[in-house]
Amino acid sequence: MRRPRVVGLVVLGVAVLVAGLPLLRGPIELPVTQHHLLHAALLVGAALAGVLCGRRDALRRASPAWIVLAMIAPILAMLLMWPSAYSFFEQHPAGHAFEHVGIVACGFLAGFAGERFAAGVGWATGGSAVLMALLAAFGFGVAPPTAVPIAAVAEPSLQPGASGRRNTGASSPAQPSHGAMIYATNCAVCHGTAGEGVSGPSLKDERTRKNLRQTIEWIENPAPPMPKFYPAVLTAADVRAVATYVQTL
C-alpha cells in the first residue's frame, strides 16, 4: 500500500512543478485548444497521483462525502479553465501558475476522493476530469469562423453581469445597424453571417426574388423548417429592420 502512495506523491510533485511553468516562462500566449490540452495533460498526472494515493481497504465503509467531492472536483477544474481574454489568471504568470496548481488540485481530488469512496471509482472520476479537459479543447472558448460576427453584435443588455469593458472588448468593426444585429442574432446561424447559406438557403440577392413587403411577410409567416420569430421574439419593427437588411445582402 505504501509504494503506490510514494509513486503517487512523486507524480503529484511533477504535476505541480509543471503547473508552475508560467512562473519561469512569463506570459504564455497559446491558442485555447492547445491550452486546454495542456490542462488535460496536467490532469492526467494529478488524477493518477490521486488514484495512487487514495487506495484503501475495500472492506471499510466510506463516507458519502468522498463521492460528492470526486464528482464536483472535475467541475471545479472546468471552471478554472475559464477561457476569458480578460482573466487575471491568463495575463499574470503568478496567477496563471496559481490557476494551474488549482487544476492539479482538482484532478488530484477527483482521483483521490473517488478511490477513497470505492476501489476503482477513482479511475472513473479522475478520467472524468481528464475527459472534460479534452472535450473542452474543441469548443470551450473556441469559436468557429462564422460565430465571430455573432459574438461581435451580441446584445449587451441581455447578458448577466455584462460590463462595458467585457462586451466592447469583442472585435467589433463599425457599429452595425439594428437589422444587422437582429440578423446576426437570429438568422446567421442558418443563413450564414453574410447570407451565404448554411443549413438554410442562401439569402444573397434575395431582393431579386422577394421585394421588401414579401420578405416581411415571409419572416412573419415562414414555412417550415424556418422558425417563426414573430411576434414571440421579434416585434413588427424588428421584422421590418431585418427584412431591410436582408434586401442589402
Partner: protein, 489 residues
Amino acid sequence: MKPLSVTLPAIGLRVMWTYIATGLAIFLLMLLVGISMRGSQAGWWTIEPGTFYSLLSLHGIGMLTAMVVAGLGTLWYLVSRETGLDARVAYLAYAFFVAGVACVIVSIVPGHYGALWSMLYPLPFTGTYWPTWATGAWLVGTALVMLGFMIWCGQILGALLARYGGLGGVLAVDYVLHNRAFAKLDHEPPPPQIFAAAITAIDGLIAGTAGLTVGVALIVRWLDPTVAIDPLWAKNLTYLFGHTFANLTMYMAVAGIYVGLPICTRRAYHTSVPLVLAWWGTLLFVIIAYFHHLYMDFVQAESLKLVGELASFLAAIPVVVITVYGAVLLVHRSGMRWTLGSMFLFTGLIGWVVGGAAAVLDSTIPFNVDLHNTLWVPAHFHTYLLEGVVLFTLGWVFVNLEQRAGASSGALIRWLAGLGVFGGGALFVLGFYIAGAAGVPRRYAVEPPPGPYLAGIATVGAILVLVGLLVVAYEALRLARLPRSEVAP
C-alpha cells in the same frame, strides 16, 4: 465470488420506493403539462407561444428526470440485493435531483425559460424572451440533476467492481471468452439485471461527463458573454448526454423484466452468452448512437453520420431481440396469471419494440432526412417512454405490491388500467406518428394542418392515459394498504 455484504432489504426497499414514488409523481404532473400543450395544439384552448415553449421545456426535462429517478430507484434496490450499498449516498444523489428540479421549476414558472434542454447554441443566450437569471437557473438546475445522476453512477460502479472483482467480472468477460473454463470452476456470471446496472453506471458516467462539460461551458458563457463556444461542439455534447440519458431510462427499466417476469412465471431469467454480447453492444454503441441527431448538420463529418447509423442499430437491436425473445420464452406455457404487474411488464415489451423500431427507422439516413424535423421523433420517444419505460416501471411496482400483499387486482380494474394506460397511450402516440409521416413539424406551438386535428386525437389518448393512471394509483394504494403476506399472489 460471494458478496461482501448485502444491504438490508428494508433499507433497499425504502430507497427504491422513495425514488419510484418521486419519479411517478413528477411523471403525473408532466402528463398534465403534456395534455395542456396537446390540447392547445388541437385548438381546444389557447396557450400563448412563449408559455407553450416554457411548458415544453418543463415537460421534456421533467419527463426524462422522472423516468431516470424511477429507474435509478429500481436498479439501486436490485444491486443492493447483490452487494452492500450505503443508503446515505442514494439519498444524497436524491437531494441533488430535488435541488435540480427545484431550480428548473424556478426557471420556468416565474422565469419563463423556453429553450428546452436540447437547445442549440447560441440559444439560450440570444433571441430569448425570458430574463437571463432564468437561463442561469435552468443551467444550474440541469447541472445539479446531472451531478446527482453521476453520484448514483459512481456508487453503483464502485459496488459492482467490489462485488465482481473488477470490470472484467462485472461485464462477464471470462464467462464469454473462456466459457468452458468458467463453467468448470463452477463460477456464475452476474445476473441479467446487473448488466443493466453496470451499463447505466459506466455509460452514465461518460455521458454525464460530456453533459457537465457543455453544461459548465454554458454556465461560464452565461456569466461571461465574451467566452466563445463552438455551436457544433455544443450540439454534439448536448446530444451525447441527452440521447444517452434518455436511452438509459429504458435500460434501467428493463431490469424489471429480468427480475419481475421470473417472479410472475416462477421461472429464472438466466444470463447467457448472447445476452452478455448484446449488453456489450449497448455499452459500446449507445454512447455514439446520438450522431443520428446531426445527420442534417452539413459541417459534421460524413463518417460520423455513418458511425451514428451503425451504432444506432447495434446499440438497440441486439439487446431488444434477445431480451424480448427470452421474455417470451419465459412466459410461454408458464401458466402465468395476468395480474397488473405481469400485464404491464409484458405490454411494455411491445412499446419497447415499436418505439425502438421507429427510432431505428429515424436513425436510417434516407428516412431521417424526411422524418427528423417532424413529429415522428416525439412519436418514437413517447412510445419508448410511455409505452415502454412507464409500463415496465408500473409492472415492477405492481409485481412488488402483489407479492407483498399476496393479492392481485380484479378483472375490471385490469381492463380499465390496461385500456387507459396502454390503449390510451397507443392512441396518443398514433396522433404523433401520423402527423410525423404527414410532415407536421415538431416543436411548434401552432401546427399546420393536419397537426391540430391529430393533436385532438392525441389529447383524447393522453386523457385516457391519465384516467388509466388514476385507476392504477387507486389500485396501488389499495394493495399497499393490505397486510403483508407470505403467500404469493
